[in-house]
Symmetry: D3
Subunit: 288 residues, 6 copies
């Protein structure tokens, strides 16, 4: 058929580049098996793919347009519920494949534990990788309910192969006393707020050290972002967060993720709208 | 990349055939512009595509499996809200393209008005086409709120090019006095119930006349199928409807549709689950 | 019967003046036929009428009370779904009737396209009419999905009979690149924020030029106002908006509207509460 | 103004007769102050008024049309929360006013306790009044949480002025052991089912004794009618109930009510649709 | 304090016996880590505990009362998300403790996989244990997404230590072709319906063989029981299921469970109400 | 049994002290019988008890931990719906019992009227008691819908036994003209905002006068706290409120309450999360 109007399968932001043409690859990781409180992030990628239809590709904040980027939407990985170790293996192998093809990964979660695999893959290619970590929770436990692999200790696990002082945490307002003490003693730790993030990371622009940004969306205040597993009141609103993220332009991004969108707790859809908008802005910031 | 686990974009029932290989083509029509009561069927195709993931491909009722059918999922048509005439044109042209390529169409709505375009396209290829119409509403108005094109008069419009006695209606339990009088006088009209449908249509198996089945899902009782624009209590449950549909095997189906799934009114997802199951069973019945 | 306690039909804010006694006429326009993303504003007027029961008539912000205003609640117009042209005609004729009776209109939407008809009617009576436009979206497309009449280009259509520089836009944060360029070049355009609106419009108090204010409620941040068709994160909260609206007292208002409340996406009712409160404050500001 | 299209305030089923012209008067009683489990029936009348818009006035079951009945929608009574005694007084006085004007009352609840006042008023005008009682619950407690006035003992209170054997109960499937014993010993008691109701009450057609029917909508199975305060699984579906209600035509109805619709638990709207349909059918049965 | 009115913590059905006095022990297992489609059964026990408040302790079906049973509510087990093996270990050890204390276990799930641990513990004490299995799904896979431990193969795993012909399955209507073939060849398999269950198991009353009943609540039709992870339309309604369960009185029950209630998909609460009612009836049937 | 993993009944924040050991006693008051707009606060205590599971016991704001406090969770009082007078009696007697045992009460509502009983009990023990009152509404009516006992006049009733100038009100933004006049004339009244509360109450730290704090949670903006009966837009967000509450440390608290959480309007759970977090912070502030 050769018609003007043909049916189409929805893609993130309408991205239409093939894998081979693309510089960046977006993929979804619908997985929430270790979520301890309210599950549902497994539905995050699907919801964002559909809702990104309601988003303009043009950013008036940056005066740039997504149509100018070469991005491929690969779809969603199928990960085995109830076996986090194997899920992480599958994800790490896939991410390494993307990197070997000289493309940069953008992951849409899914629970935060998954960031472990993506960052591990990246740290093998980029040994001097540094991590920007936005979150409401420390994620620094040494174990959680007796388990080593959990959304509640993903950053602690990452700190085993990225030196803690290369982990730059912002917005954190919940955790154990021990976690706060560890963070304050060892990491580049900016609790309670995201204000001043741009400034605090300015020096990383000069060094052009490779950067991965992991955005646990629950860093946003629950009024702005109710749709997440463990809402923690007292965070920044979207304007505060967006202003700081725009300040990161110029960093040498080699990948990033948006994690913990949980559509079942997002009846009104405002969390998904916020996530989709942040995806657009981060892509325009990161691709540079 | 050549990995075992690769991300995938969701398709109806996981159908993976390309357009060229397929005998049947499924497409979505996310459109509800003339819906008078509760809009939302525009989200029907997307929801069914995602939720069909939860459905087994094997039917224990028919002891047959969808994996044995050659079906292509073409995605969703983009139709202009606020202009039903142009929407119908786009849909009719697309359907004709499918038919010209010697494939049979399966439409996932979307509002019932759209059936007008699909049936019109089919009736040009199959001049002796007959229509099986399952619905809670007569859809036989001559106008609705002053408009000729409306979900409330789609069957009346079809009756202008398919003789009313070739329209076989079942399950109808709501309408104007005039509509019931018209139906009783002119059509093959079986109000209130779907019981006996299989038997009543048995003669069409011998003649092998081409058949289009339009399933307005609101024919089901709202307890089974709350997710629709105008719920009309007092309909059959799924077991009653399914039993009758299985009895249609052997008819010469040239196309069919499932219309009026409205996910915003289906919080629990049971309507979508019912629609997906009926899609599987109808495919296995129709493809024969 | 002559009893103390008699049943009553709910009216906006309990307004009890007859049409003939009233200076201002409120009416609902339950219509969302061109809504492209999430329909539902058709339920806006009904919801606001009911929920305004929960609102005090006294404004502590202005130290004034609605009971001192002569307002009539006319009910809701019935507009034909699927035919925007005729809907606009019906609305324009009705608005002209209100104006001919020397009353001022207050419209409760419904989708933003409807503002076209009301403003057109007003501009015939008040040729020097100026427009205050609060919105998250530019609404300046020249067409949308091939259609000329759409919520996405209502301001562009209005700019054909009100000079663009007489259109004062605030809060806009989403649109095409071309729309932002048009707005910046031709209109009195204040994107991203509503801050300073009172000040920016101060000169209109002296000239006492007739003013219509169209409030697309999605100008509010989705955290405050989730219940709308296309939520756009990053807007003002209620305190910011209210402070600016209070600053408009003294302008020569000849009508206003509150559009795009969509109750199906407002489970918690906070959007409706915000809309009802803004209706009260705007009435007290506008009637003066 | 003298226009074709004018705004209108919604009324039950679009009833447009004035009070003076009408034979029957519908009024709402938004009250649920003694509800012990899940409150929300206070929103019942408003929801039914709005949703009855989606209902045809023609009943294909009875081949009759509501437009042929003289019914007035009086609106909703305002009853004081937290003071059941005074609420009952206000309601009883209003009902007596309706009866004195030679009109018959139709009440839309609200909680079932309110039936006490309406039946009391009627029993004063009709000393030989008999009661048809459809319910999932016995409502025969002598007190509830220490209170004499409660939705849980309304029938027991009525049995103090209508002899128990003149109370015909159907569908009941929940209560205390003592309540079932009282009912079995003293009333015309048909637990678990509504089947055979028409037949069991046939003799009342001959005597033409005045009848009040109180329909606690929770008699329906929760699958059909989830929107109620105390859902009790195991009841009839709508077809079963409707068939029995149609069999009551010919009784001398002097009033009836539909109680316990609780919209907050009716996300999908199917309960409201069922209630509106039953209102239509009962009106056509009762007015005769 | 020695007051009449003291605060109380909610318990299942208000059970107030201490562990030592009780013959039966109810406990919750809030766990859904291998759930593949829609998680949420982790909230089942908590919801049932609260909602059982709305349930009478008296069963008019059996003319018996829960207050006459010695039951202890032990609360909920905390099980580690993401590690099914350890979760099963903890549960099995706890169940063995209950059995050693000569009490019988009643488990409220949680996902169906957990039944594996409870049945395993029971089979060690009762080597001739037989299993009654009510379900919509076969649960007979040999693996699921590569995992051995999954809700989708719990019955297959049980069949490794209870001979398949001692597993009596009813109501199943979804699965793979291989699963249906295995079931038909090896088990006491009654697909599609629960009708006749009482009769089919009559012989087990004579032998007084020890019986465990596992009730996957999704065996009910989704209209009756929407609140579950994988709704499968076409099942029995509550009256059908209840009638069959009542027919099981006289069997030698040594334990039972109610699994797969998922409150997030049960907005209206009707699933929880059904589950609570079935718990009451099963207790009265089982305790005998 | 003597196992590591035993089931447990959920308690507020996991508090495990017995009544006798405790210094503070938390109890729930599930009651909303006089609520005039949207009922549902009766579900507040149960929801908070469950959701407090998701909250860390450690406060990074105060660097203190709940595990160091001696708090007993007594459960919920059962109060008779429809009889506010008796409900208040039961509550006052219970509170006096707590005080006589030299423990301090923490009440989780339930509607605001209940504060009347608790404060009355406290004022008998502490004749110089002063009240800190955070609210969106004045609650100063002399009657409401003809009733003296109502959530809308609780503070007026309290002002009959605590001198108005000892009532310190913050955040109020809704009420009648007369209420605002009464408050301004007689009370320590700080409308519209909570800013500066800490400072304004600084002098009470020196005098160490006994303080009861009543937190009507609707003082928060509905974006932060949608789950309440009468949402009033324009309030503080959580960060603003929390900062002021932290400033109250050092006051001589003898009790406090958190009222008006209404879970049915809190689909996303963010209101419950905010309430639980405020409970933790207030406990750590009050216990000192």
């Amino acid at each position: 058929m050769n018609l003007e109007h043909l049916p189409q399968i929805p893609r993130f932001c309408g991205f239409s580049y093939d894998y081979d043409e693309a510089d960046w690859v977006i993929f979804g990781t619908p997985y929430d098996s270790t979520t301890s409180f309210r599950p549902g992030t497994r539905f995050g990628p699907e919801r964002m793919r559909v809702e990104s239809w309601g988003l303009e590709s043009y950013s008036p904040y940056q005066d740039r347009d997504l149509v100018d980027l070469k991005v491929h939407d690969a779809g969603d990985l199928e990960l085995p519920f109830g076996n986090p170790e194997r899920a992480l293996d599958i994800l790490e192998i896939y991410t390494m494949g993307v990197l070997e093809d000289d493309k940069q990964p953008v992951m849409i979660g899914g629970e935060h534990l998954l960031t472990l695999a993506t960052v591990h893959a990246l740290s093998r290619k980029y040994p001097d990788l540094e991590l920007i970590h936005l979150d409401a929770h420390t994620d620094l436990r040494t174990e959680y309910l007796g388990e080593r692999l959990s959304h509640a200790n993903v950053i602690r696990l990452i700190s085993e192969f990225i030196e803690p002082q290369k982990i730059h945490s912002f917005g954190i307002r919940s955790g154990l006393k021990e976690e706060f003490e560890f963070a304050r003693a060892n990491m580049d730790f900016h609790p309670f707020s995201v204000k001043g993030m741009g400034k605090a990371l300015e020096h990383l622009k000069e060094s052009q050290v490779p950067i991965y940004l992991t955005l646990d969306l629950d860093v946003l205040d629950p009024s702005v972002f109710p749709g997440t597993g463990t809402p923690e009141p007292g965070g920044p609103d979207l304007r505060e967060l967006l202003a700081e993220l725009l300040g990161l332009r110029g960093l040498n991004f080699v990948g990033f993720d948006l994690m913990e969108l949980s559509p079942p707790w997002d009846e009104s859809g405002i969390s998904t709208a916020a996530a989709a908008k942040l995806l657009r802005e981060l892509l325009l910031v990161a691709v540079g």
